[in-house]
Amino acid sequence: MINPKVISRIIANTDIKTKLRLAKVIPKLGKADEITRCMLCPNMCLHVCPVFDAERRLTVSPSVKARLGYFSQDYTYEAVYHCLPCDACKSACPMEISVNDNLRNIRAGFDTEIARKAAERIERDLFKNLRKTETEKREGKILYFPGCRTLENGLFTKTVEVLEKLKIDFAVDDLLCCGMPYYELGLFEKFKSAINEVKRLVSKYEGVVSNCPHCVAIMRESGIRAAHIISILQPVKVGGDLSYHDPCIMARKLDVTQEPRKLLEEMGCAIHEPAFSGKDTHCCGYGGVYKFIAPDYAEVVAKNRRDHFEYEIVTACPSCKTALKAIDFVELIGERL
C-alpha cells in the first residue's frame, strides 16, 4: 500500500489542473487486476522461475506470460500453458501474484487444441494407472487417497504396507483422480465433475491422507479435510547424509517445511540443504501439467533441480520422486519399519 502521507504530499505539491484529475483516480490506486499488474513488472521473479530457467526464452518468463495472457483476446498463446503450479513467482512477488493462477483463468477462456491434446495424453498415460492398478478395498476411518502419480511409481503398495505397520485405521476405496490436470488446463467443467466424484467418495470418511501434495491442496481448496501423509509418519532409525527436496506445493501451498526436516533429524540423518530450499524451493518440473505440454522442457527442469544436490534426495511427493530419482519418505521409513 502507498503511505497516505505520501498521497497527501503529492496532492499538496501538484498543480491545480492535475490535482483535479488526480482526485478521480486516487481511489482506484492499486486496483488493476493481477494479470495487468504482473505484465507491468520488469519480471522481478525471473530468477526463480523454473520454466524460464529451462526454456531460456523471455516468452515463458512470468511477466511476459502475463503480457501474452493480457493480449489473449480472440485466441491465446501456447506460452500461456508453459507454466508450473509451483508459485515460485508468488513467493518472490511483493504483490503476491501467482502467474499460474492467473494464466489458468486465461486458459479457461479458450477452447484450444493444446489443452485438448494434453488432456488426451493425461487420460491415456496418467489415468491408465487408476484403471489398471489392482487394489484390495478395505474399510477404515480415514481414506488413503494415493493420487495418479503415486500409482505411477510403485509408491502405492509401499504406502499401504507402511500404514498397516503404523497401525493406522485407514481405508482403500475406488481409485480416482482429484481433477488437478483438468483444473490446470483450464478445463473447469471436467475438473468440477472429477472433484465432485472425489467429494462423493470421501464423504464416507473422517478425512483423507495422500502422498501427493497436489491432491491435498486441490482437495483442501474444494473443502475436503485432507492431510499429507507425512503428518502421520513415525521416525525410524536411518542415519546418513541426505538432502531434502521441498515439493513446491507442499512448501508453499500446504506450508509444510519444518516437519520433514524434524522427521529426518529424529531419524538420525544429517541434512544437507541444497541451493533453493524451504519456501525458496525449486520445482522438479513434474508438477501440474507441464510434463504433458512440454515434456522435454519438464525433463530440463528436473535435471536443473537434480543438479542442485550433492547427496541422496529425500522427498515427500510422488511427482518429485520420479523427476528427481529421489527416495520418498514412505520408502525411507518403510524399509526400516
Binding site: 502507498i2 503511505n3 502521507k5 505520501v6 504530499r9 503529492i10 505539491n13 501538484t14 498543480d15 489542473k17 492535475t18 484529475r21 488526480l22 483516480v25 482506484k28 490506486l29 492499486g30 488493476a32 495487468t36 499488474r37 504482473c38 505484465m39 507491468l40 513488472c41 520488469p42 519480471n43 522481478m44 521473479c45 525471473l46 530468477h47 526463480v48 530457467d53 531460456r56 526464452r57 523471455l58 516468452t59 518468463s61 511476459v64 503480457r67 501474452l68 493480457y70 493480449f71 483476446q73 498463446y77 501456447e78 506460452a79 518472490a92 512477488c93 511483493p94 504483490m95 541444497p274 541451493a275 533453493f276
Partner: protein, 446 residues
C-alpha cells in the same frame, strides 16, 4: 532477405523462432513509455525473428549471417534496460543471449565465469550457497543478465564498497558484428591497452558480449548498519563525504520525499552498511563522524524493500507515467544540482512527484537518482519534456547525463555533451567494426 537468413540459420542448427508469441516477448525493453503501449495491447515494435544461439560460436554465426544480408540485430538479455536500447524498431533479428547460461565458480582464484544470459539473481543465489557473493546488486538483479550489466555499464547497490561492473570484470569474450570472436588471456591485471573495456557501456553497438569472468567475494560474516537523519540534503552530503574515509559497502541518502516513502519521516536520511572484518569498528567510528541525528532501523527497512518495484504496477494502469534519471556529479555541485533538477522536473505541468536519493559514492562525488511521476494529459510529450529539462539542468549544474542506466535512444541527443570529442572515436569504431551497421541500430547515435 530475412527469410533467407532465417532459413540459413535454421539449416546450420541455430534455434530461430518466428512465432508471434516470441516476437511479442522481444518487442521492447523496460522503458516506461512502452508500458502504456502494452496497456493498449500494442507493441512498440516487432522483430521479424528471434535467435537463440547457445554458444559464442553460434552468436558468431548469427552475426555473420545477419551481416551478409545487412539485417539489423537487436541484442536481448532480460530486457530490463530502461533506455529504449533493445527495442527492434527496424524488425530484423532479436538476438537472445539467454541460452548462454553456464556458470563456473573458481573458488581458489575468487572468480566466476558466467554466460551473458545468466540471470543475476540466480547467479547470486548459487554463489551464496557456496559462501560467495558478487556484491553486484542492481535493483534489477532478479531480472537482468550478466551480459546486460556489461553492455550498460551497470552499477549495484553495493558499488560504494565493491565498485561498479567495470571494477568487477576480470575478463570477457565478445563477438564482433562481422562474427569474429575476441577474447584475451585471463589475468588479474595487465598493463597495455585494456580493450575489453570497449564493450563496457557500449550497449551492443560494437559487439555481443557472450561470457564474462567476474570477481567474487566471500559472504561477509559481519554486517552493521547506520541510520541518520538530517534537516537538509547539504548536511547529509557533507556527512556522506566524511564517511567515505571508512569505505562503507553501501551508502545512500534519501531526500524528504523518499524518506517519507521508506521511513515515514520527512527528514533527509542517510543509511550505510559496513561489512566484513572490522565492520564493528567502522560502524562505531561512523557514529562518531556523523553530525546528523542517529536513529535506528532505516537501513534495515530499506534493505528489506530494496527490490520492491511494485508501485509501477499499481500506478501505471491509471495513466501515470514514471521514470528515474540518474546522474553523477562532484561533491562541490551536489546540493545545488539536487535542488535544481528537482525544481526542473516539478516545473513540468502534470508532475505529481519528484524526489531523489544519492545511491553511489566515490572519493570525488556521487550519483543522484531522481524519480519522477506524472499524471499528464499527453504522456509522451510530458515524458520528453521532463527528460529534456532534467538533463539540461543537470548539465548546467555540474552533473552529467547518466550514471549507470546508459544512453540508448532516450539520451542520445546529449551524448556529445557527455563524451565531447570522444564521440568521433566512437563513430569511427562503430563504422570500422560494424560496417553495415547491423547491431543495435539507432542506439547512441543515428
Amino acid at each position: 532477405m530475412i527469410e533467407k537468413a532465417v532459413e540459413e540459420l535454421i539449416t546450420v542448427g541455430i534455434k530461430i523462432s518466428t512465432a508471434e508469441e516470441d516476437k511479442i516477448a522481444y518487442c521492447k525493453d523496460f522503458n516506461p513509455l512502452h508500458l502504456h503501449k502494452l496497456l493498449k495491447r500494442e507493441t512498440p515494435a516487432l522483430p521479424d525473428a528471434v535467435a537463440f544461439p547457445k554458444s559464442t560460436e553460434e552468436v558468431s554465426i548469427v552475426l555473420r549471417t545477419a551481416n551478409a544480408y545487412g539485417i539489423p540485430v537487436y541484442i536481448f538479455g532480460g530486457a530490463s534496460g530502461v533506455i529504449d536500447a533493445a527495442t527492434p524498431y527496424e524488425g530484423g533479428i532479436a538476438l537472445s543471449t539467454l541460452l548462454l547460461k553456464d556458470i563456473e565458480i573458481n573458488a581458489e582464484n575468487m572468480m566466476v565465469k558466467a554466460g551473458a544470459g545468466v540471470v543475476g539473481g540466480r547467479l547470486e543465489k548459487i554463489l551464496n550457497h557456496r559462501g560467495f557473493t558478487l556484491r553486484h546488486s542492481p535493483q534489477s538483479l532478479y531480472c537482468s543478465t550478466v551480459g546486460g550489466w556489461v553492455a550498460t555499464a551497470a552499477s549495484g547497490q553495493f558499488s560504494t564498497g565493491y565498485g561498479n561492473i567495470e571494477d568487477l570484470i576480470v575478463s570477457l569474450t565478445a563477438v564482433l558484428p562481422d562474427g569474429e570472436i575476441v577474447t584475451e588471456r585471463v589475468t588479474p591485471r595487465r598493463a597495455g591497452p585494456d580493450l575489453k573495456k570497449l564493450f563496457v557501456g557500449s550497449e551492443g553497438l560494437l559487439g555481443v558480449v557472450t561470457e564474462v569472468i567476474m570477481k567474487i567475494f566471500e559472504l561477509p560474516e559481519e554486517s552493521l548498519t547506520l541510520s541518520v537523519e538530517y534537516n537538509t540534503m547539504g548536511e547529509a552530503v557533507k556527512d556522506a563525504k566524511a564517511l567515505m574515509s571508512l569505505k562503507p559497502a553501501l551508502m545512500r541518502i534519501f531526500d524528504d520525499e523518499e524518506s517519507l516513502r521508506y521511513f515515514d519521516t520527512e527528514k533527509f536520511s542517510l543509511i550505510a552498511v559496513f561489512e566484513g572484518k572490522g565492520a564493528g569498528t567502522k560502524a562505531d567510528m561512523a557514529k562518531k563522524i556523523v553530525r546528523g541525528n542517529i536513529t535506528e532501523g532505516y537501513a534495515e527497512k530499506w534493505l528489506d524493500k530494496r527490490f520492491n518495484v511494485s508501485d509501477i504496477s499499481r500506478i501505471v494502469p491509471l495513466g501515470f507515467i514514471f521514470d528515474t534519471i540518474e546522474v553523477a556529479c562532484f561533491w562541490s555541485d551536489a546540493e545545488k544540482l539536487y535542488h535544481e533538477v528537482i525544481k526542473a522536473i516539478r516545473s513540468v505541468e502534470g508532475t505529481i512527484t519528484a524526489s531523489a536519493h544519492a545511491s553511489h559514492f566515490y572519493e570525488s562525488g556521487l550519483c543522484f537518482y531522481f524519480t519522477f511521476a506524472g499524471f499528464p494529459v499527453n504522456i509522451e510529450e510530458y515524458y520528453r519534456e521532463v527528460w529534456r529539462r532534467a538533463i539540461e539542468t543537470s548539465l548546467k549544474n555540474g552533473g552529467n547525463i547518466t550514471h549507470h542506466h546508459g544512453i540508448g535512444r532516450l539520451r542520445k541527443g546529449w551524448l556529445s555533451s557527455e563524451i565531447g570529442g570522444y564521440i568521433t572515436i566512437l563513430r569511427d569504431l562503430k563504422s570500422v567494426l560494424d560496417r553495415r551497421n547491423i547491431l543495435n541500430r539507432g542506439v547512441m547515435f543515428d
